[in-house]
C-alpha cells in the first residue's frame, strides 16, 4: 500500500519509479502483479483522437469604449456570447454561418471551431467580429479586430466529455457508402472503424475509477489540467468482462486546462466529409499504483478488451439497441478481421502512435519532478445508467 503523499515525495526527490502503460504491462507479465505493485509508483496512460464535446472559454478584455458583446465570430465561426460582456465559449464542432454543410452532400466541412482552437494554440492571428445592442455603460455596437492567444486574459479549455472508457466499432450493412463521425463506411460491411486507445486508454486502465476522480490531475495537450466532473453520458453501469473491463462506452471525463500552456500538435482541428468538423485531442493521465488491485487493472491487454460492432446504416441512427457482435482490440489491430464469415479491413480514428508519445512525454514530466499527482476530491459515480430522450407529443 502506498499513499498519494508518499508517491509525490518520491516524485519530488527524483526517486519515483514511473512506467508507461505498455512498459507496465510487460513488467507485470515478466514479474507478476505483486512485484509490480511494490516496485512501480506511477503508470502513464494516454489517448489521442477526435473528441467532439470540447471547447473553450475566452476572455478578450475590454475595448475602448466598452462593449457588451451580444454575438461574436472568430474567423467567421460563431462563439456563444450569452455570458458576461467579453467572455465567450467556442465549441469544437461549430461551423461558419454560411458553411454549405451537407447542402451539397457529402459536404466538405473544411473549417470550424476545432480549427480555430488549433490556430489559437499555435499562436496564430484570428479575426474577431462582434455585435452588441448597446447599453449606456457599454456603448460600442460593432467591432472588428485581430487577436492572438497572447492578447487574451484567459483561454481555458473546458470539455464536457472526453476520454470515453470504451467505444463501439462502426460498420455498414447497407449497399451504399455512409459518411459518419466514425469515417466513411463502405457498403456491405466493406470496412470496420474503431476509436479507442485500447490498452493504453486511461479509463480502461482504471476501470472502476479508483484513482481517477474529480480533481485528478491530467495532461491535457501538454498543459497540466484537471478532471472537473464526471463527463456527460458517464454511464458506469454496463456489461463488464473479466478484470472489470466495460464492454461498451461506460465512463467519461470532463476536463479543463489552460490553453496558453498547450502544445499545438495535440490540439488539432479535424474534419469528416459528409459529417462535420471536430477537434482531435491528446490526453494523458497518470495512475498511482496504490495497491495490488490497481496494479492488476493496469495489466489489461488489447485481447482482454471487447467492443460492440454496430451497424451505422440502421441500428445506430434508429437507436434499435441491436449489436452485430463483439470483437477485441487485438483483433481490430490485426489489419484484416474475420467477422460474420467475412474478411474485413479495419480503420482507426484513434492514434496509438500519438498515445504512445503522450505516455512517454508525461512519464518524462513526472521523472523531472514537475508533475505531481493529486488525490481526487470526490470519486466518479460508480453506479449510474444513461437516460434517452423521449420525444413527447
Amino acid at each position: 500500500m502506498k499513499t498519494y503523499n508518499q508517491i509525490n515525495e518520491k516524485i519530488s526527490s527524483g526517486k519515483a519509479v514511473v512506467l508507461t502503460a505498455s512498459e507496465m504491462k510487460e513488467y507485470i507479465e515478466a514479474h507478476g502483479v505483486r512485484k509490480a505493485a511494490k516496485d512501480v509508483d506511477v503508470v502513464t496512460t494516454a489517448t489521442f483522437g477526435p473528441m467532439c464535446s470540447s471547447g473553450c472559454f475566452l476572455n478578450f478584455g475590454h475595448s475602448k469604449p466598452k462593449m457588451r458583446i451580444t454575438a461574436c465570430r472568430l474567423d467567421g465561426v460563431p462563439a456563444y456570447s450569452g455570458i458576461a460582456a467579453v467572455d465567450c465559449y467556442l465549441g469544437a464542432t461549430q461551423l461558419r454561418d454560411r458553411d454549405p454543410a451537407n447542402s451539397n452532400f457529402p459536404g466538405k466541412f473544411d473549417f470550424g471551431g476545432g480549427y480555430v482552437m488549433e490556430k489559437l494554440v499555435r499562436g496564430e492571428e484570428i479575426e474577431l467580429t462582434a455585435y452588441s445592442y448597446g447599453t449606456q455603460d457599454y456603448p460600442l455596437r460593432d467591432l472588428k479586430t485581430k487577436f492572438t492567444i497572447h492578447d487574451l486574459n484567459q483561454a481555458i479549455m473546458v470539455n464536457p466529455r472526453n476520454c470515453y472508457q470504451n467505444y463501439n466499432v462502426a460498420t455498414n450493412c447497407s449497399d451504399k457508402r455512409l459518411y459518419t463521425y466514425m469515417g466513411q463506411l463502405e457498403p456491405k460491411m466493406g470496412n470496420l472503424t474503431y476509436c479507442s486507445a485500447g490498452e493504453l486508454s486511461p479509463l480502461l486502465n482504471d476501470p472502476l475509477y479508483e484513482t481517477i476522480g474529480v480533481g485528478s490531475v491530467v495532461w491535457l495537450a501538454g498543459a497540466r489540467g484537471h478532471v472537473f466532473s464526471e463527463g456527460t453520458q458517464h454511464c458506469p453501469t454496463c456489461e463488464r468482462t473479466d478484470n472489470d473491463v466495460p464492454a461498451e462506452g461506460a465512463g467519461t471525463l470532463a476536463l479543463t486546462a489552460d490553453m496558453k500552456k498547450m502544445r499545438p500538435e495535440f490540439v488539432r482541428g479535424c474534419s469528416f466529409v459528409g459529417y462535420g468538423v471536430s477537434l482531435a485531442l491528446g490526453i494523458g493521465i497518470p495512475i498511482p499504483v496504490l495497491n495490488e488491485r490497481i496494479a492488476k487493472h493496469l495489466g489489461v491487454r488489447d485481447k482482454d478488451i471487447r467492443a460492440q460492432v454496430i451497424d451505422y446504416s440502421t441500428d445506430y441512427p434508429l437507436r434499435t439497441g441491436n449489436v452485430l457482435g463483439t470483437v477485441t482490440y487485438e483483433q481490430l489491430k490485426s489489419e484484416v478481421i474475420e467477422f460474420k464469415g467475412k474478411k474485413i479491413t479495419v480503420s482507426s480514428m484513434s492514434s496509438r502512435y500519438k498515445a504512445l508519445e503522450i505516455c512517454q512525454l508525461l512519464k518524462d514530466d513526472i521523472l523531472k519532478g514537475n508533475f505531481l499527482l493529486s488525490q481526487p476530491l470526490s470519486p466518479l459515480p460508480k453506479e449510474q445508467g444513461m437516460k434517452q430522450l423521449t420525444i413527447r407529443k
Binding site: 463502405e186 466493406g190 488539432r268 492514434s351
Partner: protein, 138 residues
C-alpha cells in the same frame, strides 16, 4: 523491352497548342493511361500518367516532352501525404486498396506512405480527417 512507368508532368503556361499526348501515342507507339489532369487558374497544366511501351521509345518521348519546357518527375506527386499533419490515426488503412498508405510498424502503429504503390485514386484525400493527404491536381 515493354515497360510501364508513372510520370508527373507540369506544363508551363504557353504550351497548350501542341497535342502532346496524341504525339506520344502516334509517334512513339506508347500506351497512355491518364490518372489525373488539371489546368490551374494561372494556366499551368498538370498531368499524372502511365506510359507503357518500349523503354527506348519512352526515353525518346520524354525528351520530346521536355523540349516544350515541361518538367517531368518520376516520383508520383499526384498525391502527397504531409508528414507534419499526419497523426498516424490509421483511418486511411481500409480506404487505400493498393496499401500505399500502410502500417509501418504494428507496435507503434506508425502509418507509412509508399508513393510507388499509389495509383492516385484520391480516396485518402477524402478520408483523412487531418487533411494530411492532398493532390496538386485537386
Amino acid at each position: 523491352m515493354i515497360v510501364t512507368h508513372k510520370y508527373f508532368l507540369k506544363f508551363p503556361k504557353c504550351e497548350t497548342e501542341t497535342p502532346i499526348v496524341y504525339h506520344l501515342v502516334k509517334d512513339y507507339d506508347l500506351e497512355v493511361n491518364i490518372f489525373r489532369a488539371k489546368v490551374t487558374s494561372e494556366g499551368e497544366g498538370y498531368l499524372v500518367l502511365d506510359l507503357k511501351g518500349k523503354e527506348t521509345k519512352i526515353a525518346e518521348a520524354l525528351k520530346y516532352v521536355a523540349s516544350f519546357g515541361v518538367s517531368i518527375d518520376t516520383i508520383d506527386k499526384g498525391v502527397i501525404r504531409d508528414d507534419s499533419l499526419c497523426t498516424h490515426c490509421g483511418n486511411c488503412l481500409s480506404h487505400c486498396k493498393p496499401k500505399a498508405l500502410h502500417l509501418a510498424d504494428p507496435v507503434t502503429r506508425q502509418i507509412a506512405f509508399d508513393e510507388n504503390l499509389c495509383i492516385a485514386c484520391g480516396r485518402c484525400i477524402d478520408n483523412c480527417p487531418m487533411k494530411a493527404c492532398s493532390s496538386l491536381l485537386e
